[in-house]
Amino acid sequence: MTNSTHPRNPGISLNLDWLDSVQMNRSALERRCETLTKRRSIKKEWQAAWLLKSLRCMDLTTLSSDDTPDRVRRLCAKARQPLRPELIESLGLKALKPRVGAVCVYHAYVETAVDALKKTGIPVAAVSTGFPHGLNSMPRRIEEIKDSVAAGAEEIDIVITRAHVFSGNWKALYAEISTFRKACGDAHLKTILGTGELGTFRNVAKASLVCMMAGADFIKTSTGKESVNATLPVSLVMLRMIREYFEKTGFYIGFKPAGGIRTAKQSLDWLVMMKEELGREWLEPDLFRFGASGLLTDIERQLEHFVTGRYSASHRQPTA
């Protein structure tokens, strides 16, 4: 994110009239998603290039209760070298130096990851504020952000208080996100909405707007821990709010779908949607990230297939 050319979103004052005007039609949104992916076909060199973009926009993530420092170091090693050297060579990508967008871990492993990624330019993202439920006390949540930033995290993924959405207490949500934003300092703020738990697209849209108004750099779908995580329709809702926010304020907000994106083909669907709904600018890691863990292996398999013409196997790819 350090290379972003766009000025950071400072937020705007809470605009409740704007929230009131939000309309979302589920059937129409689903229809758009259904046809969108069939309207564009990406094959051969293009597919390889687009998959590399998926890789570049990936927050390589481990968020398990059994994480250990060694496990995190292994993940970082993979982040440093996401593709086998011979694959990079056959693809003619030596100059490109493929790498992932960030490595995403719990606070406890921020230091480990920062250390493992030294001199790579790969930022470390920390999930924070009582992830995945976000129900710790406010001082504790603020402290957690500050601790992660102090430990070297350049990106902070926070979870919003879902209760504020259900009660329509937008002022409280706005205040909460503003506070987190301050605590982040220079680190970028990704706000996780927990879309699978918000019930309606209207709630998702309104929560997206409030987060952006309060100064979020990214809005993110899910923790990856809900029963329903990132879907195309819910992403479409959020992208349209990003577009509207951009049209009204001129500020670029990033988008991060997380959870459930496991295949290379799926990742292309999201890229197509970003390009169609927002534009080319949103196909860079400063404005787009996938939260994923298994996706990388499938991308490697597809790239190998592109090079060799043979279908590849997961076990042939070095694991994270």
Binding site: S41, I42, E45, W46, A49, G92
Partner: protein, 798 residues
Amino acid sequence: MNITDIYETMEYSPAPESPDIALEWLKERKAKFGLFINGKWCKAKSGKVFGTDNPATGEKLAAISAAGKSDVDSAVSAAKRAFPGWQALSGHERARYLYALARQIQKHARLFAVLETMDNGKTIRETRDIDIPLVIRHFYHHAGWAQLLENEFPEHTAIGPVGQIIPWNFPLLMLSWKVAPALAAGNTVVLKPAEFTSLTALLFAEICEQIGLPPGVFNVVTGSGETGAMLVKHPDLKKIAFTGSTEVGRIIREATAHTDKKLTLELGGKSPFIVFEDADLDSAVEGVVDAIWFNQGQVCCAGSRLLVQESVAEKVIERLKKRMAKLRVGDPLDKSMDMGAIIDPIQKERIRSLVEQGKKEGAKVWQWQGKLPKNSGKSGGGCYFPPTFLTNVSPASTVAQTEIFGPVLVSMTFRTPDEAVMLANNSAYGLSASVWSENINQALHVTPKLKCGVVWINCTNQFDAAVGFGGYRESGYGREGGHEGMFAYLKKKESGIPTEELRIPVPKVKTVENSALSLDRTAKLYIGGKQTRPDSGYSLNVVNADGSLAGEIAHGNRKDIRNAVEAAHKASGWQSSTPHLRAQILYFLAENLETRGEEFQNRIMKLTGVSKKQAGLEVETAVRRIFSYAALADKHEGLIHQPPMRGLALALNEPIGVLGLVCSDEAPLLGMLSMLLPAIAMGNTVVLVPSRPFALVATDFYQVLETSDVPSGVVNIVSGDAEELGSVLAKHDDVAGLWVSGTEDECTNAKKLSSGNMKIIWTNNGKKLDWFDNQQSEGREWMRRASQVKNVWIPYGE
């Protein structure tokens, strides 16, 4: 392009679907096609052929035989010969054939899709994901109707050999809409595909061969409009089904007027796309893309008139411009294209000149700025037109009224829901409408007010085999698809041989009974709830059977008809009155007729000369008939269809509007009521022309209407010369439907003259009906005749 470059630009790749298998298919047939008649392939006897081109490249794909008169004759005779055997099969046996067709098309789905794209120019995404899947669904669905026919339509039977003429915009889909219900119902078919797009119909004929469809059940005669005209005129075809332009529809209406051919017409449109301020605007903008830039806008139900509420107009227009810029236009075989080629340079030129005309009339033109493929083909190149939309358009603009049939949208604004409805209905057409609002009250409030056969709420261009499709007004009549669509290929089983309907001449007056002392009532016209004198100032004699003068009736003329039509329009509140209220009023009518039963009995007896008993029976039957329609008034309910989506598709039975009724001389009271009752029970308002010699029955009857609380203007009675007044009604463009029970000449005349505004017309074809027979003269069949189905798509989900 190397990977690093693409990684920077993030452009899309060319993603061509291979034409190889389709080309191979053409090659195996030496790119030459005969006609498919009686299960065999044969050359046109004239030896004439014409070329079919790929609009995307201009290259010739194949040579197609041009069927001439003798070819059409042999196709029709094959269909005629095959009819008895095909009809005699059980529903189950026919169902097996339709099921086999569905499966066989499914097996070759991609070949059909590629061939369709090559012949028509529409994108492979559409043929692959929309056209062909809908075709398959149509055959599966109608395999079901074949199976259920005997139980579901026990009073109906197949019509006979039918002629079907289909357009080039959805070649195979329109084939399936026509062929599947026709075959399911037990008819045999002679199909004429559009001149530009014969190939998939020919491939379909091969599929029919493969599944062993009996010879003659399905025949294909390829050719131009001339071949189509031969079908239209062929005496042995019992029905013509046509989809195409209103212009040609009108010609067909006139050409078949003198026959008893059944006719369904699915014609043009200029459909509104209404966006209310409380809509999901981004989704609405996406809807516009699907409405007008689907199939290059060459869609009869394309949402071509964007009506946006003023408060959000600017926002919607801005977003639409941005969205339009993202469209990809080019090689239709490329899987990443949103729009392909226009069917033919002639069509492209028509689109261009209409846009030019719009510009001249002050419209602002916004056009897609991308690069259209040029000269990509060997012979003259492809035929493309950019997505276009016009602002600064008003209803008075040519482009707001004329069907462009291309990727051209015009936009206008409205202030209130009422104004939206007014603008939406400001069209000679009435095919479809799209309504966008997140307020269910708003959306469902405007829906019944829209004069069109299909309403899509928060969606557009949705089709399904289970849901009827078809228009109001000059968009044609008849429905395709669903339960309602089956009736287009069925007729009521006949009982006995009908005899010719004749008009009874008015005899000379032999005696005048009236003395100055016995005051006769003055029979006037009955218009807008008032007894009015005729414009002409003349009266006509009505003579009793014994030659005595019965009285005089007003001699109504065209101006009286005009006034009556106006009065009928003013009474349109009747249309939206509750069925319960209409039932109550009808019951009251029965009560009041019975109270004066003896008077009517005497009148009928004296006028017609029937026995007292017979006259009494007529009055009694009339009272019963009123009861029947009072009963039916609140029972001719619609259906809820179940297309494969999360939502409802409501098939609403709506009144036609203002109906003209020209009554028979047979059974003057009962004949008149048999037509009047279903019309008003359904909510239509009526201009009724009673039997000339027995008009006093009708003028007596308006007093019954007055005492029965029938609102003013619901029934208007104009007495006079039935033939003359019938013609005036037929030519009146503000009369939506016309029923004529008269002589063959009157019927022919009515059908011909009614083509001006494509009225929904019913006649007795000059054949007498037995008004005493409940089977033919009463019941749901008449309620169906008095109504038209509006299909309303309501997807939902929060």
